[in-house]
Amino acid sequence: MSKPVIATATLAGCFGCHMSLLDIDERILELIELVEFNKSPINDIKTFTKQCDIGLIEGGCSNSENIEVLKDFRKNCKILVSLGECAIMGGLPAMRNGIPIRECLEEAYITGPTVRMNTKKILPNDDELPMMLDKVYPCHEIVKIDYFLPGCPPTADLIWNALLALVTGDELKLPYEVVKFD
């Protein structure tokens, strides 16, 4: 039997959840024995080359590209998992949700204290750039999400336990230490 295939992506996130995935330390050797990685920043495969079993999504949807990537993952993965606070709730990026988009763009490109070079006050509008959404959306509002792994980031043990449970079909172990956040 071929090994289960995993794909991962970061949308509007900080890569912290991927860092946490790497925090499984030497168990990564065990992991690559168990699974095969497809599209993922970990191996730098940019496009899906086959149908995957598990997709891990870090980050919520802040722009049109996030939406496309997420929909692509839904199409190519049997099981989709929201990994971490941003994917589940929007997280820190969603702090802009109460602020009009106009103010966000002005602050980022024109009036912000660290903006020095943009003397012509240009707002990025090239057609090649992703389009900003009105707010940051959690992934489950865009596509069906099968599982949610909470945390900022979810601990390495939580990710490891969850992957193991998904791959082996065993029951997921969730000891208190793994899901407590304070």
């Binding site: 009009p100 988009i101 009105d134």
Partner: protein, 598 residues
């Protein structure tokens, strides 16, 4: 301004626990609480300004900006909407020339949405500058707005007074009592002062024993045995004990306390005095919801009459050491202050956020002293128990629910109003009594209660079966249950949540959006399942009754009206997204100057 504010603060002895009264007076004098006034108050009371501001921002009837020389607070509860509230609101907007929740440019008229004001039997109703206007129609709205423009005094615009004491010169209100059925406990004839003179012959312990023997349970909704509450409080061993009467009936659909306060205030105050004696309390406080401010002067007068009769004050009924007085504390518009610990916070001049329990109010309540908080109806009933006997009281009602219950019945029925019934009446009997036919559902106990379908109309109104604080709303078969009720009630909880517990603050909104998704025909079965699962979660993770019951309108209709939900969902999909890319990118593309590429 400084002098005016100083005088107000001085009037309340620079006591920061009287912040509510101070702010109420400022709001009245300035038509808002200007920022400068908040600063002055903070300095005088030796508080941080943030503390003053957070109290101001908590209450609906406090405002930092002027609310309009004529401020119209129009009720938007479900029954108001059933009775034509929307037409009245549109008429106001048209005549005034501004939309709701704003003030006209000249500052003359402000229009404001308001949660239930306790007038469900005479909706649509509004509070204008503290005066209640009932049975509003678009035509009447035109006359009222003309009155505003002519600069008329608001009390001149009340065209006729209501029945009973509503025409009393200290009330002069157009509110009607609508007392439809007088029962043997609250509305029976009695001699004023007799019960107080009787208890003066008993010891406080004996008095508590009588109340315990009567099995009377709290009438506010939770149904805790009143005698036991008194006993617990006495055993808490504080230096002082306070008695509080909760007259903050904010549950949409209940208005029984309005009628007791109008017609039987003497009875209520006597009950408070008896409780005060039993608890050995020196001070009683009536927490009166702001919406009933129009009765306050009258109540103050009744208190004075009691003092003149030596039934209130020192050495009551000639008994040395029987000292007890009552003051009235006005609220400022917050449903959650009906929750007893929220009410205590409010009485101390703070945001009405419920406390963690334990300690319970009977252990540490008002000013951290043991405090008994009883409902208006409970305390009023106490008098009759003393005058008759616990056995007389127990002989009425059912085993677990002794005595009678005052119901506020409204909605699709011929005779909305107040009914004093014996516990144990079935819903069918109740519907016949109020002249209701073709009934789709009955909302028992208001939004925080349950919504039941006709198959359950043989159930009885009692703590054993269908408990209620008194609100009964009859929903006719032609009503859109989800839109007119479940959505309205969910919006109500969102508006009234104090925001302290995360799930109550946020999940209510998530549930509302999910409900909207289903109503828009975009829901799937998983959405109903999640509504139900998450709604139940609310019961476990919120601190107070508001948060724990905020999902009840959704939960009980899913339980009792499941086909209604099922008929709205898509059965061939397991997931539907409401995300709309075109809409989501429109603003950002417009602002940066590019054509959306979809």
């Amino acid at each position: 301004m400084k002098e005016k504010v100083q005088n107000i603060v001085k009037k309340f002895h620079n006591d920061r626990s009287r912040l509510m009264d101070i702010l109420l007076d400022i709001q009245k004098d300035f038509n808002c609480i200007p920022d400068e006034a908040a600063s002055i108050v903070a300095t005088l009371l030796n508080m941080s300004k943030v503390d003053v501001n957070q109290t101001i921002s908590f209450y609906h009837f406090f405002s930092k900006e002027p609310v309009g020389t004529y401020a119209v607070y129009l009720n938007n509860s479900a029954v108001a909407c059933m009775m034509g509230r929307e037409e009245v609101a549109r008429a106001f907007e048209e005549e005034v020339g501004t939309s709701f929740n704003s003030v006209t440019e000249d500052g003359l008229i402000g229009l404001w949405d308001t949660s239930d004001i306790g007038m469900n039997d005479q909706e649509p109703a509004a509070i204008i500058n503290g005066i209640v206007f009932t049975n509003l129609t678009p035509t009447r709205v035109k006359e009222i707005v003309i009155g505003f423009r002519e600069g008329k005094d608001i009390s001149e615009m009340v065209d006729k007074y209501g029945d009973g004491q509503n025409s009393n010169e200290l009330i002069r209100s157009m509110v009607n009592n609508n007392i439809r059925k007088k029962g043997p406990v609250l509305f029976s004839e009695y001699e004023v002062g007799m019960a107080i003179r009787n208890v003066a012959n008993y010891s406080p312990e004996q008095t508590i024993e009588i109340i315990k023997n009567s099995n009377i349970r709290g009438r506010g909704g939770a149904g805790f045995p009143a005698g036991l509450k008194w006993e617990f409080c006495c055993k808490s061993g504080g230096e002082e004990i306070y008695l509080v009467c909760n007259a903050d009936e904010g549950e949409p659909g209940t208005f029984k306390e309005r009628v007791i306060l109008t017609e039987l205030p003497m009875l209520l105050f006597e009950g408070m005095i008896i409780a005060g004696y039993a608890l050995n309390a020196k001070e009683g406080i009536l927490y009166l919801r702001y919406e009933y401010k129009y009765i306050k002067d009258y109540l103050e007068d009744v208190l004075q009459q009691l003092r003149n009769l030596n039934l209130l004050g020192n050495n009551i009924a000639g008994k040395g050491g029987f000292n007890f007085d009552i003051r009235i504390q006005l609220g400022a518009g917050a449903y959650v202050c009906g929750e007893e610990s929220g009410l205590i916070e409010s009485m101390e001049g703070k945001r009405g956020e419920p406390r963690n329990r334990p300690p319970f109010p009977v252990q540490k309540g008002y000013k951290n002293m043991p405090t008994v908080i009883n409902n208006v109806e409970t305390l009023s009933s106490v008098v009759k128990i003393i005058l008759n006997s616990p056995e007389w009281f127990k002989a009425m009602g059912t085993k677990e629910s002794a005595g009678t219950k005052l119901l506020s019945i409204s909605g699709d029925c011929k005779h909305p109003g107040i009914y004093e019934i014996e516990w144990g009446m079935t819903i069918n009997e109740m519907l016949e009594m109020v002249g209701a036919s073709s009934v789709q559902a009955v909302q028992v106990g208001g939004p925080s209660g349950v919504c039941i379908d006709p198959s359950q109309f043989a159930r009885s109104i009692s703590f054993e079966d269908l408990p209620t604080g008194g609100a009964m709303i009859v929903i006719g078969e032609n009503r859109d249950l989800l839109k007119e009720f479940v959505m309205n009630y969910t919006d109500f909880f969102i508006e009234e949540s104090c925001g302290s517990c995360g799930p109550c603050r946020s999940l209510t909104v998530i549930l509302r959006n999910k409900l909207q998704k289903i109503m828009d025909g975009k829901g799937v079965k998983a959405d109903i399942d999640e509504l139900y699962e998450w709604g139940n979660y609310m019961k476990q993770v919120n601190r107070c009754g508001l948060g724990q019951t905020a999902a009840n309108p959704i939960l009980t209709t899913i339980e009792n009206f499941r086909p209604l939900y099922d008929s709205l969902i898509k059965t061939d999909d397991d997931f539907v997204s409401t995300f709309n890319m075109e809409k989501a990118v429109a603003d950002s593309c417009k602002y940066v100057g590019r054509v959306p590429k979809l």
